[in-house]
């Protein structure tokens, strides 16, 4: 397959609805210190019936932004008792699934992570969990809209062999989900075959 130039430049904005703009501003701007960088006041002029709304943006670093929509006079659609203002689930929905969709923001150091921990702990939205994974350490909370929110730091840089390993995992996964046995065991077996096929000839990237 011909090389596709990778010219995309990150997140222009990731957007969510909110029903409480005051609390959203308090959380992102006042507690976390993410500056408000843009806003648009508009109505629904297209074919769908649509209330007047404000679309507002906070900077989340690297020129990336998180944006919210606030629709005047719009009631949230009815849903279950779990989840956030966008996606509601019934009581029996497993928590691992409910929190699977989340935004994780990056900091460079332990000191920076602890600084955001301090800001959250001094607010109405204290850190709910602090975890170390294999190569990252993270703090978690829910924002005023119920969106699950993570700030994370890398314990060490990702290495080129991990890129290879990730690609093997993904290739094995795509194959396995199209096959008869869709399971972790099948994935690890297929991945082992791919390791033998491809990893032996793999050249480490120049450091």
């Amino acid at each position: 397959m011909a090389e596709l130039p990778h010219i995309i430049r990150g997140v222009d904005h990731v957007a969510f609805p909110t029903f409480d703009p005051a609390a959203t501003v308090a959380f992102y701007r006042d507690v976390l210190g993410f500056p408000v960088v843009h806003s648009i006041c508009a109505a629904g002029w297209g074919p769908e019936r649509h209330p007047d709304f404000i679309h507002f943006f906070f900077d989340i670093g690297n020129g990336d932004r998180i944006a919210f929509f606030y629709y005047f006079g719009f009631e949230p659609p009815r849903g279950g008792s779990k989840g956030d203002v966008y996606a509601r689930f019934d009581d029996d929905a497993p928590n691992f699934f409910v929190t699977s969709r989340h935004l994780a923001l990056h900091v460079d150091s332990e000191a920076d992570l602890l600084e955001y921990r301090r800001r959250l702990d001094n607010s109405r939205w204290p850190v709910e969990l602090q975890l170390q994974h294999e190569t990252i350490e993270s703090i978690y909370t829910h924002d005023p809209n119920g969106y699950f929110f993570e700030i994370t730091r890398a314990l060490r840089p990702v290495t080129p062999p991990e890129d290879l390993d990730a690609n093997l995992t993904v290739d094995a996964l795509v194959e396995v989900v199209g096959g008869p046995d869709v399971s972790m065991a099948a994935l690890l077996a297929r991945k082992a075959e791919l390791i033998v096929e491809r990893a032996a000839g793999w050249e480490p990237a120049k450091r």
Partner: protein, 251 residues
């Protein structure tokens, strides 16, 4: 024949845009237009009053877009130009974003941008202009045009700060100011760089008298609207700018 809806965002005391633009476009041989305005409160042409007026832009766009116009003309030239070089692009961009975010298909143009567009369309490089403004604002207009690769050889500021009065400046006074300009090496003349100072009846005669293209903020606005809608620029009796496509309009 479809009627093209033109949205106008005008200073509240402006009467000339809503007079001259329909008068011009009514002459179009092949297209029909309707005009719909929203107003920004403004009486005094001063820097502070213009800033306060600009603050109403979002509300005015909200209101006018409800009418589903085909194109919106943000019709206060000096209010944009006091924002500094390139301001019309920033304003038009912000309005375009506001419209697009709400799913409106309306196009946006501004009088300030239209004047620049029209002067480039007649390939002007060295111009002379008549403005009704107090001198400091007139200087900003001159500076703005110069930042758009136009040399302003000479200019007049009639120093009328009350916008309602600007709407009543007699044609003779405008023409007298135009005649007083040093037109050496000038390849286009802007007889009214203001959408409130009436000049429509003067444009064609002045062009014949001076022998160079004569534009006004109004004729430039009409030009920009027609180009945006991809309609032939074929409006008689208002200068050569608006006859750009005259020979190509089917009978």
């Amino acid at each position: 024949m479809t009627t093209h809806r033109i949205g106008l965002v005008v200073p509240s005391s402006n009467v000339t845009v809503e007079t001259e633009l329909p008068a011009l476009l009514r002459r179009h041989p092949a297209a029909r237009f309707s005009f719909h305005s929203s107003r920004m409160r403004m009486h005094t042409v001063s820097a502070a009053a213009l800033a306060a007026m600009n603050a109403q832009r979002e509300r005015c766009i909200m209101e006018i877009a409800d009418a589903s116009p085909d194109v919106i003309l943000y019709a206060c030239l000096v209010a944009v130009m006091v924002g500094g070089p390139g301001e019309h692009r920033r304003v038009e961009g912000a309005v375009a974003e506001q419209l697009a975010t709400g799913g409106s298909a309306a196009l946006i143009r501004s009088s300030a941008g239209a004047l620049v567009e029209a002067l480039h369309a007649v390939q002007a490089t060295r111009i002379a202009i008549v403005t009704p403004y107090p001198r400091p604002l007139a200087e900003q207009v001159v500076g703005y045009l110069e930042s758009e690769d136009l040399a302003v050889a000479d200019w007049r500021a009639l120093e009328v700060a009350d916008n309602a009065e600007v709407g009543c400046i007699p044609g003779e006074r405008v023409l007298e100011a135009a005649r007083s300009l040093d037109r050496t090496g000038v390849d286009a003349l802007v007889i009214s760089a203001c959408v409130q100072m009436p000049s429509l009846d003067l444009v064609d005669a002045a062009e014949q008298e001076f022998g160079i293209p004569v534009l006004s903020a109004a004729t430039a606005g009409a030009y920009s609207v027609l180009r945006s809608l991809r309609l032939p620029v074929a409006v008689p009796g208002a200068g050569s700018l608006l006859r750009a496509d005259t020979t190509s309009v089917p009978a």
